[in-house]
Amino acid sequence: MLNLTEDLTKAFLSAQGLPVPPGTACDTPSAAHAAAQPLRGGAVVKALVAAGRRGKSGAVALVDDADAAQQAAQRMLGTAVAGLPVDRVYVEAREAIAHELYLSFVLDSYPPRMLLSCRGGVDIEQTHAQTPEAIVVMEVDPVHGVMPWDALAGWERAGAQARWLPGLGRLTAALWQAFVAADAQMLEINPLVVRADGTLVLVGAMLAVDDAALARHPAWRAFARSAAQRGGRIANDRERAVIDANERSPGAVFRYTELDGDIGLVVGGGGASLLQHDLMLAMGGAPANHLDATPGAGWQDKMGAVLDAILANPCVKGLLVSYNFLQLVRVDQRMQLIVDLLRARGIDPQRLPIVVRLFGPGEDEARRIAATLPGLHYMPPDSPIDAAVQRIVELTQ
């Protein structure tokens, strides 16, 4: 899932014909000054990071003129919010707020859901905890979608004033269409502002989109690359090198995430990676990384990048090369590649313990290949997956 920054989100919503306040992304205090200059009713300056709770962490400033906007930008640029570096701010026209509403769509499981409330604003979670009935949760039938009359009925249940209902119905249906068009997994409008004259404007907007659909959204691909995260933080250099290897060619994708431990994991597939990670912790070992792979073209090059990353990690004291029983991949080819890569990097398994559990087609040949690199611990045939984890934990203790 890719969390977009506010400038991208608002530009997308605006292109969908939805009402958002005018705003500009600025990377210097003087640019913020220039952006705020024409805004007569005052401005809002926000740290441009894809994180929530900005209002509560001092990353949002209400300013009355361009000088104050410049000062706010000066204060925010170069800091970090929620662990994310602030290298730009968003300067937006300030809205005169009569009422704050809340709306979100979430697609984290089936079916998608819509949340509506007439008590929007930064305390919405507190409202939910204390008076859950103030938040209306509706399931959305993906074939039917959200029609204006469905949304209107929901807003009525949420206690919206009658005169707002027609506009809210139409706006919510249009937002659902934007949600689908964006391949979004989460869209949150908070606050959805009702002006004194009853018109509506999307003041707070957060959009998280599906990585798997980025091919349909070229405008977000450059951001996706720069924002790549691993384990809830910005990717480090070794993780970035693996991401770059993935992007050099289509096909296989390796997701490499570093952790605090000392046992490098070259593991797969997805389920077996999870299982071995759990087992290792239960046995008193600590993984130096998690690895999850999608098979495909360019596998050799990308596996080389993963091994380079693991071996460059100064914490690593041992290596587990272990897959579930393989069905379509030839074990001997995989073993040959790993032995070649280890040899090319001058790794001596008699110094760095390496346990191998590669079972499946071509296994006999794989064992012969492994024997050419003395010291590799190849698990005996048919030994269970937990035995391989146990072995590397013992060897690194």
Binding site: G52, L115, G271, L274, P361
Partner: protein, 304 residues
């Protein structure tokens, strides 16, 4: 006996002329599967492994009394490919592609429910009833290396782990009625509990082995089903990914997740719910055989 597929299943391959479609089909034919035709738009008239290829599913299905489709379309073409098979009246469709956009998966699931069809996947490596029918890459070129006939059902959110579980059963003298990789995506087109209900009805299945992962309501729904049906067959569950609960979550983004997230979607909570509902939850695969035996399910003499 088995669920969903057996020796009478007549299979159509969407994307038979592609590399993966052709390779998996070769292995499926060698394993005794009745693959009867293929479809690749623009390549009608071609012949692959002796099988005729058509431009459309409707034309192929009308000629060959097809009962199931396997889809080898690339991720962004999957939605239309599945709709085409649903429109042609097919009610069992297996989708291999990984990285299908979640909005596409959601749309497929909604259409499949309306049509009362079973769509397996996306992101599955297939389903197999040993020696009868194999759809997808499951089992590879020699499925008997992993899956032998028997009376244990498998439903796994991981394709690789369905093989690991099949192999674990084989090493302990057990076999498989049907093994299903249901796909590991956030929104599977058919939920885990739907397969479990079929296994419960299948006279050829004595017990079911499930493999679960973090996230999604799949395992919670299974627990609720077991709770409501005390006469269910023995269920052994292996759940992986609890380690994720030990690491800090990323920066929060919006309030919606905090308000609707179900704490029961974490692995530790799923384990607890499944145990309370009467399933046996094991962490090591080496415990599976003894757990089956304790439940009164024993290996059968091989069906040679």
């Amino acid at each position: 006996m088995s669920i969903l597929v057996d020796r009478h299943t007549r299979v159509l391959v969407q994307g038979l002329t592609g590399a993966q479609g052709a390779q998996d089909t070769r292995y499926a034919l060698d394993a005794g599967t009745q693959v009867v035709c293929g479809v690749t738009p623009g390549k009608g008239g071609a012949v692959v492994h002796g099988l005729p290829v058509y431009h459309t599913v409707a034309a192929a299905a009308a000629t060959h009394a097809v009962t199931a489709a396997v889809v080898y379309a690339p991720p962004l073409a999957v939605r239309d490919a599945v709709y085409e098979s649903l429109d042609a009246g097919l009610r069992l469709i297996v989708v291999l592609a990984e990285n299908v956009p979640v909005h596409d998966a959601v749309a497929i699931r909604a259409r499949a429910e309306r049509a009362d069809a079973v769509v397996v996947g996306c992101n599955t490596n297939g389903i197999i009833t040993p020696r009868q029918c194999k759809l997808g890459g499951i089992g590879g070129d020699l499925p008997e290396r992993i899956f032998v006939p028997g009376r244990i059902g498998i439903v796994s959110r991981s394709g690789g782990m369905s093989a690991e579980l099949g192999h674990t059963l084989k090493c302990a003298g057990y076999g498989v009625s049907t093994a299903i990789s249901m796909g590991g995506d956030a929104v599977p087109c058919t939920p885990m509990v739907a397969y479990l209900k079929r296994f419960d009805q299948d006279p050829g299945t004595d017990a079911v082995l499930i493999f679960g992962e973090p996230g999604t309501p799949n395992e919670r729904e299974v627990a609720q089903y077991l709770q409501a049906n005390p006469g269910h067959k023995p269920v052994i569950a292996v759940l992986a990914g609890e380690f994720q609960e030990r690491y800090p979550p990323g920066a929060s983004f919006g309030h919606a997740a905090a308000m609707i997230q179900d704490p029961a979607d974490a692995v530790s909570a799923k384990r607890r719910m499944l145990r309370e509902a009467g399933a046996d939850v094991v962490q090591r695969l080496s415990e599976i055989a003894s757990t089956l035996a304790r439940a009164g399910v024993h290996p059968l003499p091989t069906l040679e």
